[in-house]
């Protein structure tokens, strides 16, 4: 198959149901992307109000996960999907899980944003957070884009981006440890920064999972743990 298509079933309703879970996954992806963006912004601009917003909106993402999962279960029960349809449904049930976890991490970042904003001593702009944050936002956008187009090659390229994020994470860790050694008074702040970069690194892993699932849908090949 050169192009993925989830249309042209004899049962038109089935086309609609598959399109529906696909669209809702994209919506959830968009929401999570926005949460991540706001969480990083809340940290770097010490905007505790924005952070609060991220925290309250996490519930919306959770609800989306439950709804989409339920729709997938219904499709399995009603339609007994096979081949590419089955792979899509299985992928969506896994992808909503990863997206929900990204939402969780964004919430954790927002919590640390609040703690960091209470620290009046500093607003150094957190270059390491901004650097990794930009890469992670881009990676997540690329993953969702690859899903929208069922582009396995783009997904494989996006998986590669996670390696750089892991490297940047290690570099950031070293930098933060250096701050702590230089000035023990900065330890509590440094720990908050550390948790934020840790969350960003985890989001990179979830985006990577998404990409692996896209490859599974398109090629039918499980490339996890390779």
């Amino acid at each position: 198959m050169t192009k993925m298509s989830f249309e042209n079933h004899i049962m038109k309703q089935f086309d609609e149901e598959l399109e529906e879970i696909r669209t809702r996954l994209m919506e959830m992806g968009g929401k999570v992307e926005q949460q991540l963006h706001n969480a990083i912004k809340a940290v770097s601009e010490a905007d505790s109000q924005l952070a609060e917003e991220v925290i309250t909106q996490e519930q919306i993402v959770d609800n989306m996960e439950v709804d989409i999962d339920e729709a997938c279960i219904l499709i399995i029960a009603r339609r007994q999907p096979a081949a590419s349809d089955l792979r899509l449904v299985m992928m969506v049930t896994k992808a909503v899980n990863d997206l929900e976890r990204i939402g969780d991490e964004a919430k954790k970042i927002a919590n640390h944003a609040i703690l960091l904003s209470e620290d009046i001593n500093l607003s150094k702009g957190y270059p390491e957070i901004r650097h990794i944050g930009t890469s992670v936002i881009k990676m997540l956008a690329n993953a969702l884009d690859a899903f929208a187009r069922f582009d396995a090659d783009a997904a494989i390229r996006t998986i590669e981006e996670d390696k750089q994020i892991d490297l940047d994470y290690k570099t950031a860790l070293r930098e933060v440890v250096t701050y702590m050694m230089e000035d023990p008074r900065s330890i509590s702040r440094a720990i908050n920064i550390l948790w934020v970069v840790r969350s960003l690194e985890r989001i990179g892993d979830h985006a990577k999972n998404l990409c692996e699932q896209i490859v599974f849908v398109v090629k039918g090949k499980d490339i996890r743990h390779q």
Binding site: T2, N8, H9, I10, M11, F14, A82, A83, G220
Partner: protein, 294 residues
């Protein structure tokens, strides 16, 4: 299934590596010289079909089918109505001989023996390759006689005791014994549809076949009776080779080891069942099993 040969003879081998880098590009239009994709061959074959064509008068129903059926495997034939799957199944015990104007060419062999050899005893062949049909068709005789009949005419029992044993064993293997042991001498036609079908299976088993052909054996049965037959197919595959034609893709997915997809008289794809229903190699197979035409 390690029974199935990985041979590339006439099949388009697709290694997983290749598959990852290049997606299959067959179109929905069949080319004239279509070659079956997947793994149609086995190095432990019970039945071997090569270049099989079947004609009904001038009309060709089967085009150049090449396939091995492995020992003790359950192979399912699926495809849209009129695709030739039943015709093909019937060539395996020469049931098509009874159809006027039907002509079969190519080679069909069981354990290396040509089934279309002029001197071959067709009656004996049909004992070795038993058949179960869509509608249960017990003889208008007692349950006992239904099962004993074949064994008697094939001279498989020397005494009444032998015959009793064959009847009991066959009914047990068909998972029917417990339900009918008290009423063996009542008419077979008095049983429920599902029981009648199991009686037909017992009748086929009674003559110790090597291969059992099933032509939509559950399409006239309710889901519970269907489940019992499917359970039985799994058990029977310990001792017999089974080829089943089914309209239910879920049934093919549940009971078979390999699945063969027919389309307009051509054998499009043969692959391990788990692959056919998750990652079919040919786009036509994909379109059929996902309910895009049929």
């Amino acid at each position: 299934m390690n029974k199935v040969d990985q041979s590339t003879h006439k099949s388009k081998e697709n290694t997983s590596e290749q598959k990852l880098n290049s997606s299959p590009k067959q179109s929905l239009d069949l080319d004239k010289n279509h070659v079956t994709v997947g793994k149609p061959f086995s190095d432990d074959s019970k039945m071997t079909m090569r270049n099989v064509d079947v004609f009904y008068a001038d009309k060709q129903a089967i085009y150049d089918v090449n396939l091995d059926i492995a020992k003790n495997e359950v192979i399912a034939m699926i495809g849209p109505s009129g695709c030739g799957k039943s015709t093909f199944l019937r060539t395996l015990n020469r049931m098509n001989d009874t159809v006027d104007g039907c002509r079969v060419s190519g080679t069909i062999a069981m354990d290396g023996e040509n089934l279309y050899a002029p001197k071959l005893d067709v009656v004996e062949l049909r004992a070795r390759v038993g058949m179960v049909f869509q509608k249960p068709n017990p003889f208008p005789k007692s349950i006992y006689e239904n099962v004993a009949y074949g064994a008697k005419i094939h001279g498989l029992a020397d005494s009444r005791v032998d015959l009793d044993e064959i009847v009991e064993n066959s009914l047990r293997k068909a998972s029917l014994w417990e339900e009918v042991k008290e009423r063996l001498h009542q008419p077979g036609t008095g049983l429920s549809g599902g029981q009648q079908q199991r009686l037909c299976i017992a009748r086929a088993i009674a003559v110790s076949p090597e291969v059992i052909l099933m032509d939509e054996p559950c399409s006239a049965l309710d889901p519970i009776a269907t489940a019992k037959i499917e359970e039985l197919i799994e058990e029977l595959s310990q001792n017999f080779t089974i080829a089943i034609v089914t309209h239910s893709m879920q049934q093919a997915a549940r009971v078979s080891h390999r699945t063969a997809y027919f389309h307009l008289g051509k054998l499009i794809e043969v692959n391990p069942t788990e692959q056919v229903f998750t990652l079919p190699e040919h786009q036509l197979t994909e379109a059929y099993i996902t309910g895009r035409f049929g």
